[in-house]
Amino acid sequence: MNRKIVQSIYPLIVFLFLSMPCFASSSIQQLVFSSQKYAVVTAVVLVIFIGMISYLIYVERKIKKVEDKLNKKD
């Protein structure tokens, strides 16, 4: 049952985690404005990186389940 709850919340957690750089940088907005907005580029690259890596982890976990089942058969 716990597993199901975690699975259903998982996309939400990922979304919040992904949008973290946004919230973090809005608090230091003033600093970013003075440094000519380079920080937002870093945040964007970070978001894409984290997003794609988490998708890879999601696919890998699924593949692992298939592998485990195949190994049990052998």
Partner: protein
């Protein structure tokens, strides 16, 4: 199709593109630009020294070829003298006349233009405002408008330095390709759905489902990166912009597709119903992302009547990195999707073995 997913060459091509745009897009400098000008108000009749703070410029004191102009919609006025203070600071002395071409300057706002051969033309829009204080003291002087200076390009390679965008113009290589990748993946999904209905082969259903999922991932990343970017350029993460709302509705349509697939347990029924839905969804997606934002004014460039890719939005130095970025990120998207597709095939085989 399935053998292509297992091949390496296209993944390597994608990785080469991505390496180029990540190193180039993050490392190459921006063209010089103007940050601010002090003072920002000037009075008619006074001789004023404007201090112009620049960004990324390398002015040297020996360089005597700097020209400075102020420009409004109707007039152009050249500075009496312009000189360098340090690498990123230039001063220009202007004598503000009462009128230019016998049109009064009262309450006009001026753009400031600084140019030299090495840095090209630097402009700051609405940098100074003319006020008519001590109007009695001035000798109602009228001058002729100067000829407009030729627009020069910077000699060194650099991405264009735009107002408001500034360094964040580099996001063009990261945020925009997400949407291009999403369109390509959803188009692939759409074609697969049509092929499924025509040929009734299960593999097309797997292609369609996986590609729609990949498109959803790209769309989510596009929305989140767009929110980050909008916070610093438009001042709010979600301004009421037709493109944002259209994209959000389009995302919801594809989330509904994912839910539809989960809700039907019979595999053949599921495949058929979702294929039909997917074909409808793609056209609605096109309408919301490509047609609806163009009908009204949008904060996004190229909307509100004009198609994108005009020279005002993208210049050649950006194009050099933008097209590889679109290719690179789309290929990466197909790579991610191909992993999911291969997983689904393996999973299906496993079920066949078990039963």
């Amino acid at each position: 199709m399935h053998s292509i997913f297992k091949q390496w060459w296209w993944k390597i091509v994608g990785l080469i593109f991505l390496t180029i745009i990540i190193i180039g897009g993050l490392y190459l400098p921006l063209n010089p630009g103007i940050i601010n000008t002090t003072p920002d108000t000037v009075a008619i009749g006074e001789q004023v020294e404007l201090k112009i703070q620049t960004y990324n410029a390398t002015f040297s004191k020996e360089d005597n070829h700097i020209q400075a102009y102020i420009k409004s919609k109707k007039h152009i006025l050249q500075a009496d003298t312009a000189f360098v203070i340090d690498a990123n600071q230039v001063a220009a002395i202007f004598t503000i006349p009462y009128e230019i071409d016998s049109i009064s300057l009262t309450n006009t706002s001026f753009d400031i233009i600084v140019l030299d051969e090495e840095h090209g033309t630097l402009t700051e829009r609405n940098a100074i405002q003319v006020q008519n204080t001590n109007i009695e003291a001035l000798d109602m002087k009228s001058v002729q408008s100067a000829t407009a200076p030729t627009v020069l390009k910077a000699k060194k390679f650099g991405f264009p330095n735009r107002e408001i965008l500034q360094e964040s113009i580099r996001n063009l290589f990261f945020h925009v390709p997400m949407w291009f990748g999403m369109v390509f993946l959803l188009f692939f999904s759409f074609i697969s759905s049509i092929l499924y209905l025509g040929k009734n082969e299960n593999k097309f259903d797997i292609y369609a489902a996986s590609a729609a999922e990949g498109g959803l991932l790209f769309g989510t990343l596009g929305i989140i990166t767009g929110m980050c970017w909008a916070t610093f350029t438009w001042g709010a993460p979600w301004p009421n912009d037709p493109k944002l709302n259209g994209a959000a509705i389009a995302m919801l349509i594809y989330i509904a597709y994912a839910i539809l697939r989960k809700s039907i347990s019979d595999p053949i029924r599921k495949a058929k119903v979702s294929a039909v839905y997917n074909i409808f969804a793609f056209f609605i997606y096109l309408a919301f992302v490509f047609i609806y934002p163009r009908l009204t004014d949008s904060l996004h460039p190229g909307n509100g009547g004009n198609p994108a890719f005009s020279n005002a939005d993208l210049d050649n130095r950006l194009r050099m990195f933008f097209y590889p970025a679109v290719m690179g990120w789309s290929i990466l998207g197909f790579w991610l999707v191909s992993l999911k597709i291969r997983y689904k095939f393996a999973h299906q085989k496993l079920i066949e073995i078990e039963s």
